[in-house]
C-alpha cells in the first residue's frame, strides 16, 4: 500500500466557497478524509491488539480534528528550513495528514522488522521520520518539551523560516519540562520560534484534570512569560485549522513562542491498559464533523459509510499482510547502538 502525499495546495489558499464554516469544500473534504482514515487506522490497531497482534495500544482517536489540521499545515521537509515536530503518542492523525503510510503503523503495532519507526522495538504510535523532521516519539511524558527548544534554537541561529512544534498532554504539563520550555523559549531578546501545543483531554491515565490544576486554563501559564496564548475547541476541525494557521503564521513570522491549548477527547480511554473500549460520554469530533458535512450536503451518509468501509477493508488487508512479515531477529538488538556517520549532520 502506498499513499501519495496529500495534495496540500488547497489548504494554503482556500479559494472555493466555505463549505463547512470557514473552510473551503476541498479543505473540508480533505480533513474529513484524513480524520476518517486515522480513526479507522486506530480502530484497526485496537483490533490488532485485542486479537493478540500486538502487545500494547496507545493512540489518538478523539484528537483527529486537531491533529489532522496540524499535519496539513506543517511545512514538511528535512532540515532547518522546514518545521520540526516533537509529538506524543496520539499523533497518527498528524502523521497521516503529512502523508505517512498507514501500514507502517500496523507494522509498529505488530513489532515487525519492517516497522520503519523503530524496527520492532517501540510501542505503536511512536513515530520517527527524519526525512520529515518528525523527531522520535518517546514514551516518557513531557521530555519532548525540553528537547524541542534545541531544534527551535537551531532554527533561530540559522535564520530560516522553519519553526518547531511540540505537543503533549494536559497532565504532563505538571512535569518541570513544560516549564523548561516556557522559560527557555521566551527569554527576552532570545525568543524561540516554537509552537507549544497542549492537547487537553482532561485526563492523565485515570486521574481527572480537576483537582490537579490550579490554573483554570493551562494556556494561562504562558502569559507571565509574555507569550501569545489561546485555548480552543480541538474537537472542531475548522476551529483547529484556523487557530493552528494563526499560531503557526505568528511563530513563523514573529519568531516567537505561542502556547496553544486544544481541548480534545479521549475516545478509547488512555490505552489498551485501560481496555481501549469506546467511551460514549465524550464528544466524538468525527461524528460531529460528519453530521455537519451531511447537513451542509458536502457528503452524504452513504458516501461516508462507503469511505469507512473502504478504509476498514484496506487496513484489514494491510494487517493481514503485516502478520506475514518477519519479526526482528534476536541479534538485531545490537544494531544501531552507535552511529558510524553523522546522518543528522548530512552524511549518508
Amino acid at each position: 500500500m502506498t499513499t501519495a502525499p496529500p495534495d496540500r495546495s488547497a489548504e494554503r489558499s482556500p479559494t472555493t466557497a466555505a463549505a463547512s464554516g470557514g473552510l473551503s469544500t476541498e479543505t473540508a473534504l480533505r480533513l474529513h478524509d484524513l480524520m476518517l482514515r486515522s480513526r479507522v487506522l486506530e480502530e484497526r490497531l485496537i483490533t490488532m491488539y485485542k486479537q493478540g497482534d500486538g502487545y500494547f495500544w496507545i493512540g489518538g482517536p478523539g484528537e483527529e480534528a486537531f491533529n489532522v489540521p496540524l499535519g496539513l499545515l506543517v511545512d514538511k521537509g528535512q532540515g532547518l528550513d522546514h518545521d520540526y515536530l516533537h509529538l506524543h503518542y496520539r499523533s497518527s492523525g498528524t502523521l497521516l495528514a503529512m502523508g505517512a503510510d498507514p501500514i507502517d503503523s500496523l507494522r509498529q503495532m505488530k513489532n515487525t522488522a519492517s516497522d520503519p519507526y523503530s524496527k520492532g522495538r517501540n510501542f505503536a504510535g511512536h513515530y520517527s521520520v527524519r526525512k520529515w523532521n518528525v523527531a522520535p516519539v518517546s514514551s516518557p511524558i513531557e521530555v519532548q518539551y525540553s528537547i524541542a527548544i534545541g531544534t527551535a534554537q537551531a532554527q533561530t541561529k540559522k535564520g530560516t523560516k522553519g519553526i518547531t512544534i511540540v505537543q503533549g498532554g494536559d497532565a504532563g504539563t505538571a512535569e518541570g519540562d513544560f516549564a523548561t520550555c516556557l522559560v527557555w523559549s521566551s527569554r527576552k531578546g532570545r525568543e524561540l520560534p516554537i509552537l507549544i501545543i497542549v492537547t487537553n483531554n482532561k485526563f492523565g491515565i485515570s486521574t481527572p484534570y480537576e483537582g490537579q490544576h490550579g490554573e483554570s486554563r493551562i494556556a494561562d501559564r504562558g502569559k507571565a512569560f509574555g507569550m501569545q496564548t489561546a485555548t480552543i475547541d480541538g474537537n472542531d476541525p475548522e476551529t483547529s485549522f484556523h487557530a493552528l494557521k494563526k499560531a503557526i503564521d505568528y511563530v513563523r513570522t514573529e519568531r516567537k513562542p505561542y502556547l496553544l491549548e486544544a481541548m480534545v477527547s479521549r475516545l478509547h480511554g488512555h490505552s489498551s491498559a485501560s481496555g481501549a473500549n469506546f467511551v460514549k460520554d465524550e464528544v466524538d469530533c468525527l461524528t460531529r464533523f460528519e453530521q455537519r458535512l451531511e447537513e451542509k450536503k458536502v457528503l452524504s451518509r452513504a458516501q461516508m459509510d462507503e469511505m469507512r468501509a473502504k478504509y476498514t477493508q484496506e487496513f484489514l488487508t494491510a494487517s493481514q499482510k503485516v502478520r506475514e512479515e518477519p519479526q526482528p531477529k534476536a541479534e538485531t538488538i545490537w544494531d544501531h547502538v552507535f552511529a558510524d556517520k553523522n546522518y543528522v549532520g548530512g552524511e549518508n
Partner: protein
C-alpha cells in the same frame, strides 16, 4: 494464596491501619484506579498526584521530614531517572545534617522486563538504586516476602526503596508462603480486596485479619538449597533460577539459589556461607551488565573469597543496550532467560579448575 500485588496491598493496609502510614500516593495511585497494577486499591490514605515524578519524590521527602510516614510510588521505575538527584538527597540528608534529620519514607516502583513492556516499561532499577548511598533497597520474589519486606520498610526510619518485580506481581505464593491471616481461598480473598470492574465509588474492601510479619532488611533467603553452584539473584529471576535448578537436578547438577531480598544492606554472611560451600558463583539479574550490582557482588567475592573459588565467577545480566525491544525475540535476547541460566549453572558446575 495471595498474589504479590495483593500482598503489597495488604501490607499497605496494615501500614496505614497499624504502623502509622499517612500518605500513599503517586500517579493514579488513588481512586478510581488504585494503581496501574492495582496495588493501592481500597486503601484509606491514597491520593493521586500530578504527573510529576520530581514532585512525588520531593513530596515524600517533605512529608518524611515533617514526621509523617509516606509511601510514594513511581509508576514505573523507567520514569524515576529524572529524580536521581532527589533520591540522592533522600539518601544523604541524615548524613549531611550530621544526624539531625532522618528521612523515613518508602518509595515503591515496578521494575524489570517480562511483560513486553518495550523500551520504557522494562527497565531495571537495582543497579541505579545500589548506587545511591543512604537508602535501603529491597526486592521480593514472592508474595510473602513482599508483605514482610514492605512492613519492615515501613517501620524503618530511613528511606527504603521497595522494588516490585513487574512480571511477578500477578504470581501467587507457593505452599508455605502464606501471609499470616490471609484466607485460604483465592476467590474469597479476591472478593474481599480486589476492586470490582466498573463503578467503584461505593465499593469498600473487607480486609482479612492480618498479622504483622517482618522480613528483616538485610537477610537473604535460600530459595533452593544446593551444593554445587551458588546463584545470587533477586526478584523476577528467583523463580526462574529455581526452575532452572530444578530442571538441572535431573542431570545431577545441584545449584543453591540465594534470593538476596535485600540489595542494600545485603546479606554477606549468607553469600559467604553459600560460596564457601559450593565454590562456584553465578550472579543473575536483569539490569544492564556494565556497572551492575552483580559485578559488585563478584568483586567482593573475588576480593574476599578468591581462594575458595573453583571456577571463574560469572554474571548473567541484561545486555548493555540502550533499551529492551518490544518484539519477543528482542526482549528474550536482552535479559536472562531460563535456558541461559541453566547453561550458565551447568557450565559452572562442570568447570574443572
Amino acid at each position: 494464596m495471595a498474589t504479590m500485588v495483593q500482598a503489597i496491598r495488604m501490607a499497605l493496609h496494615v501500614g496505614e491501619s497499624k504502623l502509622g502510614v499517612t500518605d500513599i500516593f503517586g500517579e493514579d495511585v488513588g481512586p478510581p484506579l488504585g494503581g496501574v497494577f492495582t496495588a493501592t486499591q481500597g486503601l484509606e490514605t491514597t491520593w493521586n498526584t500530578p504527573l510529576d515524578e520530581r514532585g512525588i519524590v520531593g513530596m515524600a521527602i517533605g512529608l518524611a521530614l515533617a514526621g509523617r510516614k509516606p509511601v510514594a510510588e513511581i509508576q514505573f521505575c523507567d520514569y524515576a531517572f529524572n529524580t536521581v538527584d532527589l533520591l540522592k538527597i533522600a539518601g544523604n540528608t541524615y548524613w549531611s545534617s550530621g544526624g539531625d534529620w532522618n528521612v523515613p519514607l518508602v518509595m515503591m516502583t515496578p521494575v524489570g522486563a517480562g511483560i513486553r513492556g518495550s523500551i520504557y516499561h522494562s527497565h531495571s532499577f537495582d543497579a541505579q538504586a545500589t548506587r545511591i548511598p543512604g537508602w535501603k533497597i529491597v526486592m521480593p520474589s514472592n508474595p510473602r516476602d513482599a508483605y514482610g519486606l514492605l512492613l519492615s520498610a515501613i517501620k524503618d526510619p530511613n528511606p527504603v526503596m521497595f522494588l516490585k518485580p513487574k512480571a511477578l506481581l500477578r504470581a501467587k505464593g507457593k505452599p508455605g508462603e502464606e501471609i499470616p491471616g490471609e484466607p485460604g481461598d483465592d476467590k474469597t480473598l479476591s472478593k474481599m480486596i480486589d476492586a470490582p470492574l466498573g463503578d467503584r465509588t461505593k465499593w469498600r474492601p473487607e480486609w482479612p485479619k492480618l498479622e504483622e510479619l517482618y522480613i528483616p532488611i538485610g537477610k537473604a533467603r535460600i530459595a533452593r538449597p544446593g551444593t554445587q553452584v551458588t546463584v545470587l539473584t533477586y526478584g523476577r529471576n528467583v523463580p526462574m533460577c529455581v526452575a532452572a535448578a530444578e530442571e538441572l537436578a535431573a542431570d545431577n547438577i545441584d545449584a543453591e539459589i540465594v534470593d538476596l531480598r535485600s540489595l542494600h544492606p545485603y546479606d554477606w554472611d549468607a553469600i559467604k556461607q553459600s560460596v564457601m560451600k559450593t565454590n562456584r558463583v553465578l550472579c543473575v539479574n536483569e539490569d544492564t551488565e556494565i556497572t551492575n550490582f552483580g559485578e559488585h557482588l563478584i568483586r567482593r567475592i573475588v576480593e574476599e573469597l578468591f581462594y575458595e573459588l573453583h571456577a571463574p565467577p560469572k554474571l548473567l545480566a541484561g545486555a548493555h543496550l540502550p533499551g529492551i525491544g518490544l518484539a519477543d525475540a528482542l526482549e528474550h535476547a536482552s535479559v536472562p532467560q531460563k535456558d541461559g541460566i541453566k547453561r550458565a549453572i551447568a557450565e559452572l558446575a562442570k568447570h574443572e579448575p
